[in-house]
């Protein structure tokens, strides 16, 4: 958080390094102004809420989207954040995806998908870790691609039912 403060102080960072270009092979930028690429400390690019992108979006740095994107987003080794104003209709591939806005489409992350309070995902998620906050909306499937966890036997042991406060059991049919 304190790094962000540093980044907005012009004196502290007078000539920020230009962010790596975001490739948009088939992109149509339908915004009245050019895409806001605000360099922050640690190479984070911000796509502002007035920006609309249709096509393929790929990059090699962390990206925050507050605008609209339709198509495909690929940030293989980086973090994609869909801000509260962000609306995405796209297939998303990234290292980690944080959703505070709306995503319609499948999301694949190599590390984590995090749907925060107010965030919405309509689509299938593939990621080893998934966190969904209580106020989040999600409809779709979650595949956590569990690594081969050793299974001890085909016949599972019974849980410790009965040790807890024993409810009255009704005879099974």
């Amino acid at each position: 958080m304190w790094k962000r403060d540093e980044a907005v102080k012009p004196a502290a960072n007078p000539t920020p390094a230009a962010p790596a270009p975001i490739t948009q092979p088939a992109a149509t930028v339908a915004a009245p102004q050019p895409m806001e690429t605000r360099p922050m400390s640690r190479d984070v690019v911000n796509i502002g809420k007035s920006v609309v992108i249709k096509g393929e979006l790929a990059g090699s740095e962390d990206l925050t989207i507050e605008g609209h994107v339709e198509g495909k987003i690929e940030l293989k080794d980086h973090v994609l954040t869909i801000g509260p104003n962000g609306k995405i209709k796209a297939q998303v591939y990234a290292k980690a995806v944080i959703v505070l806005g709306e995503v319609t489409g499948n999301v694949a992350a190599t590390e984590k998908v995090d749907i925060r309070d107010g965030g919405s995902v309509d689509g299938d998620i593939i990621s080893p870790r998934v966190a969904i906050a209580e106020g989040a909306h999600f409809r779709g499937s979650v595949d956590m691609q569990r690594k081969a966890v050793p299974t001890t036997s085909a016949s599972p042991s019974q849980p410790q039912a009965g040790k807890s406060a024993a409810p009255a059991a009704v005879a099974a049919h």
């Binding site: 906050a133 209580e134 966890v149 599972p156 019974q158 409810p167 059991a169």
Partner: protein
């Protein structure tokens, strides 16, 4: 991994859901048996008909290796109530389930059927029976006490604490709980599933575990689905 091992992997409370972490846990008897049935399958497919609960997704995904489909049917009910089209609900649910026959290993319907009228409940139950694989399991809860007039409408998020306990977290609803379903009505509604376990808890909740019969020898799954 044996089911008892899950205790050792007991989750720390999710920070996102910390607000509900002080809700006392209620015992559950049928959930453990439901988990056992999933655990005996390789990469089981789970269909959750309740509101999405992040820690449940983690529990079933990370610890049981399930592929989880979240279909919050309570939202569909509320939307129809809000639009004053409750009579359209059976037709809606008749088109709602697009998955192929016998494609799901386990279904968590929680207490959904307490909020559906008989006709709607029958439509949903018919589709759930269709979706379930042979030897698949369905975990359902039914309230055994009539709702009081003073009760505010609410649904419940059921948060898995461990295989023997659940947290009940109520949240506001537009639809009220209906009449108590009799055991015979429940049995008929889910035919040909058979009830393998049924428990009446002190909280007046009936937990019921249904199973679909296995494929008879010589029959292909497709013909029995």
């Amino acid at each position: 991994m044996a089911l008892s091992d899950l205790f050792s992997l007991r989750r720390r409370p999710d920070t996102e859901e910390g607000a509900g972490s002080d809700v006392p846990a209620q015992p559950t008897k049928a959930l453990g048996k439901f988990l056992s049935s999933l655990q005996s399958r390789s990469q089981p497919v789970l269909l959750d008909l309740g509101p999405v609960v992040g820690s449940n997704v983690t529990f079933f995904g990370e610890q049981l290796g399930c592929k989880i489909f979240v279909e919050n049917l309570f939202k569909d009910v509320d939307r129809h109530v809000q639009e004053g089209r409750l009579e359209d609900l059976p037709a809606w649910f008749d088109q709602r389930f697009s998955k192929p026959d016998a494609s799901v290993d386990g279904i968590l319907s929680w207490d959904l059927f307490d909020y559906l009228d008989k006709r709607t409940g029958s439509v949903v139950a018919r589709h759930l029976v269709r979706l379930l694989k042979p030897e698949g399991a369905l975990f359902a809860m039914f309230n055994a006490s009539e709702p009081r007039d003073t009760d505010e409408s609410h649904y419940t998020r059921f948060v898995v604490v461990d295989p023997t306990s659940l947290q009940y977290r109520p949240y506001r609803a537009l639809q009220s709980r209906g009449r108590v379903l009799q055991n015979r009505d429940i049995t008929r509604m889910f035919e040909p599933l058979r009830i393998t376990d049924q428990f009446l808890l002190k909280s007046n909740i009936r937990e019921v575990l249904f199973r679909k019969a296995s494929v008879p020898a010589g029959a292909s799954p497709a013909t029995t689905a």
